[in-house]
């Protein structure tokens, strides 16, 4: 039987973090008690740690607020790759495969899973390096399509609805002052000209009042 892999999300990095909203108002993130062990669906633990380390250099925690590790970006990417997106369910994959021009879009045969498995070879062990060494490692690959995908997925994992595994505690949304899904702004649409309107974010599950099925959990 395949060994189950887990990614441990540190509570220390989340707990009590001071986040600033776009209008520079401080916002305290609720502290958690214990580290959380998240079962992985696609990555091995080693891969997940490398992805997490790389994502955390793309979107670091710093004086401007929390980053990819605090938001759970690696968990988001793991679930996406395990699901239909990772298998290329959303792409026309019939051959023949030809070399196109950029305006024809990505023509490769490799699925997102395969692009990660291949790309991660060049980042193997990055989790154990110092931050400057990690940056140097990423510099080596920053023109690759794998890096472009990793950056896109890092942003997605920062700002997705929490049901997708990223944006834990809506930490990403707080960072940019995004309230998440909300039923109405009828009163606010023209009454906050030039002033930040920053209601407390709510997730889709909170709005709907029940779990919503995410695409990564579909066949």
């Amino acid at each position: 039987m395949k060994r189950r892999h887990f990614l441990t999300v540190s509570a220390a990095s989340v707990g009590g973090a001071l986040v600033y909203t776009l209008d520079r108002r401080p916002y305290v993130v609720a502290a958690q008690d214990k580290p959380v062990r998240v079962p992985l669906r696609f990555f091995t633990e080693t891969e997940a740690l490398d992805v997490a380390a790389a994502a955390a250099r793309i979107f670091p925690a710093d004086e401007a607020g929390p980053g990819a590790n605090e938001a759970g970006v690696a968990i988001y990417i793991d679930r996406q790759l395990a699901g239909p997106y990772g298998r290329d369910r959303y792409r026309y994959t019939q051959g023949p495969f030809g070399n196109g021009i950029p305006e024809q879009g990505y023509q490769g045969k490799a699925t997102p899973r395969e692009i990660y498995r291949e790309g991660l070879k060049r980042l193997a062990g990055i989790a154990r390096l110092s931050a400057p060494e990690q940056d140097a490692g990423l510099k080596q690959i920053e023109t690759t399509s794998f890096f472009a995908l990793l950056k896109t997925h890092t942003i997605e994992g920062m700002f997705c609805d929490p049901m997708h595994g990223g944006n834990i505690d809506m930490i990403g949304w707080q960072l940019i002052g995004f309230p998440g899904p909300r039923m109405t702004y009828f009163e606010e649409v023209d009454s906050h000209y030039g002033n930040p309107f920053r209601p407390k974010p709510q997730s889709l599950r909170q709005i709907v009042g029940r779990p919503v099925k995410a695409s990564e959990d579909e066949a």
């Binding site: 776009l22 209008d23 793309i58 979107f59 670091p60 710093d62 401007a64 607020g65 980053g67 369910r89 959303y90 792409r91 026309y92 994959t93 019939q94 023949p96 030809g98 196109g100 950029p102 305006e103 024809q104 879009g105 990505y106 023509q107 990423l138 950056k151 942003i155 997605e156 920062m158 700002f159 997705c160 609805d161 049901m163 997708h164 990403g172 949304w173 960072l175 940019i176 002052g177 995004f178 309230p179 899904p181 039923m183 109405t184 702004y185 009828f186 606010e188 649409v189 023209d190 906050h192 000209y193 030039g194 002033n195 930040p196 309107f197 889709l204 709907v208 099925k213 995410a214 695409s215």
Partner: protein, 577 residues
């Protein structure tokens, strides 16, 4: 193959035009009407769950399944076409309501001279000004003929806006460059989010004529002449690529389905993928489809309507080898010049998450032929606008002002956070002329999941589009400065057609309408020239693309065709033209 009992009418495609035709036939005649829709059933109550950017705006849950069918694309016949493997420049919808469910709701009428573009342009500038390989044609119908049907469509949907030309009287605050309209809009303009208000004030200060976008995201509760009531918009920002959870955005499911479900002579069959229309001896006999259970079915019918999305209308005619003696099928493929003419980076936060698919301001001072083109290197124009459709964080985080060079890491993050809710877009939607080289045919290599050839698009911009885009980017940059932007990124220029950049879902042509069978596939009643009981409905009929969004025109043409069918064709069964 199973053969079903004959229907009086079968309609391929359950989007705006297919369901409008069904509603007209089913309510005004006793005909049995069957609509075949490839996708799933939908209703307003499904849409609360879809307020999720990832699954709907990025994974594109409401679109056709591209793994099963796509198009191939190349710039010219000298190039090798390759499949568009993931959605990019346009987004065809699937499911009941079609793309009419996920549209943004911007609801333009085309300006009067769009309909006789060839005649008017020659008259004013001479034939020599027309681009060398142009395929521009008149439509065979005039604005005056369509005006009542535009009005019907606006009342059907409860379009919000402000008239700029009421029976010839120009009205400040509306679009003074529009064609004369017989009535004011059914509902008042939408409220304006901050960015749109900044754009309005800046364009007004420059002497332009801004007006609120005509919006199917209705500004207040509305009951249409058919008795269908809908809520007013709440500016939640989940319109384009989403269905409306409160039914404020007019969609086929909330505007037409409530009427259709009451009709006993109407049948909707979702999950049915139509493969062929059978035409024998100049008469359509019915359509063959794969049903939801995977079984092949023949549906005989007295009248056949192709009302699927533009490209699929053309493809079905090609796959079915419907008579085309003059080689008109597949001609006049157009898209739209749709560019971020200037990205603006403002001083103050914009609260961009507030908005609606058609909450915005536009100006048409450079539209159509409202300004003299004698000394500019292009014909025609379009509208410059700002729409606050609801800012999506995943898609928009990291749009950087020109002064910021970092692409990742702390410096990038800090600059991106600072820019995030201060970023706005001044857009330009421009006319796309038709050219002999921009065409569709069946791809010789690539197939869909059923084994049928994909449609091949041969499409590229010409200098007219490139020069127009450059001119408009300069105008937009001037507006951006007047808005007080601290930084501006002007559009870098149109080069070759890019199938990866989303532009709009406004693809036109392929089965174009016209005044004669020598130069068109359907007449001005959308009736096939070589099969009286075959109608091809939708923007596949547009000979070229005027500057606005196509839905209202597609609907007005459908109403006009429906009138002719109900009043004349059911009795005579002859040519309507």
């Amino acid at each position: 193959m199973k053969t079903l009992p004959a229907a009086d009418a079968v309609i391929v495609g359950g989007g705006w035009t297919g369901l409008l035709m069904a509603q007209q036939l089913a309510s005004r005649t006793s005909m049995s009407v069957v609509v075949l829709e490839r996708g799933a059933p939908r209703r307003t109550s499904d849409y609360l769950d879809n307020m999720d950017e990832l699954d709907y705006a990025i994974r594109l849950r409401m679109m056709q399944d591209i793994s099963k069918e796509t198009v191939t694309f190349r710039h010219s016949e000298r190039d090798r076409a390759l499949p568009v493997r993931q959605y990019g420049s346009f987004l065809p919808g699937a499911g009941v309501g079609g793309a009419g469910e996920h549209w943004s709701g911007i609801s333009y009428r085309y300006v009067p001279d769009s309909f006789d573009l060839l005649t008017k342009t020659k008259e004013k500038y001479g034939a020599k000004r027309l681009p060398e390989d142009h395929a521009i044609q008149d439509w065979g119908v005039s604005y005056a003929e369509l005006e009542p049907h535009y009005t019907r469509t606006e009342r059907l949907m409860g379009i919000s806006g402000k008239a700029g030309n009421l029976k010839g009287k120009l009205i400040e605050g509306g679009n003074i460059y529009e064609g004369p309209r017989s009535e004011e809009y059914p509902t008042p303009p939408m409220k304006m989010p901050y960015l749109a208000a900044l754009f309005r004030d800046a364009t007004r200060s420059l002497g332009y004529h801004p007006y609120p976008l005509p919006a199917a995201t209705t500004s207040e509760p509305y009951t249409n002449p058919d008795g269908v009531s809908r809520a007013g918009c709440s500016y939640c920002g989940y319109c384009e690529r989403y269905g409306c959870m409160i039914g404020a955005k007019s969609q086929p499911t909330n505007t037409l389905m409530p009427l259709l479900t009451k009709r006993k002579n109407f049948t909707l069959r979702p999950g049915c993928w139509v493969k062929r229309v059978t035409v024998e001896g100049g008469q359509a006999r019915g359509v063959t489809y794969i049903d939801a259970a995977g079984e092949e079915v023949f549906q005989p019918a007295g009248i056949v309507f192709l009302a699927s999305w533009t490209l699929n209308n053309t493809r079905l005619l090609m796959l079915s080898k419907v008579a085309d003696p003059h080689g008109n099928l597949g001609r006049n493929l157009t898209h739209q010049i749709s560019i971020p003419a200037a990205m603006v980076f403002m001083e103050k936060p914009l609260n961009r998450f507030i908005g609606a698919g058609s909450a915005g301001i536009a100006m048409n001072d450079f539209d159509a032929d409202v300004f003299d083109h004698s000394n500019v290197p292009f014909l025609r124009g379009g509208h410059i606008y700002t729409v606050c459709y609801g800012f999506r964080p995943m898609a928009n985080f990291g749009v950087m002002p020109p002064s910021q060079k970092a692409a990742w890491g702390s410096a990038w993050k800090k600059a991106a956070l600072d820019a995030y809710d201060r970023t706005g877009r001044i857009s330009f939607y421009g006319e796309h002329l038709s050219y002999k080289g921009n065409v569709m045919d069946l791809d010789p290599v690539y197939k869909d999941a059923q084994g049928d050839p994909l449609l091949r698009l041969t499409l590229d911009w010409r200098d007219n589009e490139r020069n127009m885009a450059k001119f408009m980017a300069e105008k937009a940059t001037g507006i951006a400065r007047a808005m007080g932007a601290r930084e501006v990124t002007p559009f870098p220029g149109l080069k070759s057609y890019d199938a990866t950049r989303y532009q709009s879902t406004h693809i036109q042509g392929g089965a174009i309408m016209g005044a004669s069978p020598e130069s068109s596939v359907v007449n001005s009643y959308l009736q096939h020239w070589h099969a009286n009981n075959l109608f091809v409905v939708g923007s596949s009929a547009f000979p070229q693309n005027p500057s606005g969004n196509p839905t209202l025109t597609a609907m007005a043409l459908t109403y006009r065709a429906a009138d002719a069918i109900v009043e004349r064709f059911v009795k005579t069964r002859g040519s309507l033209a």
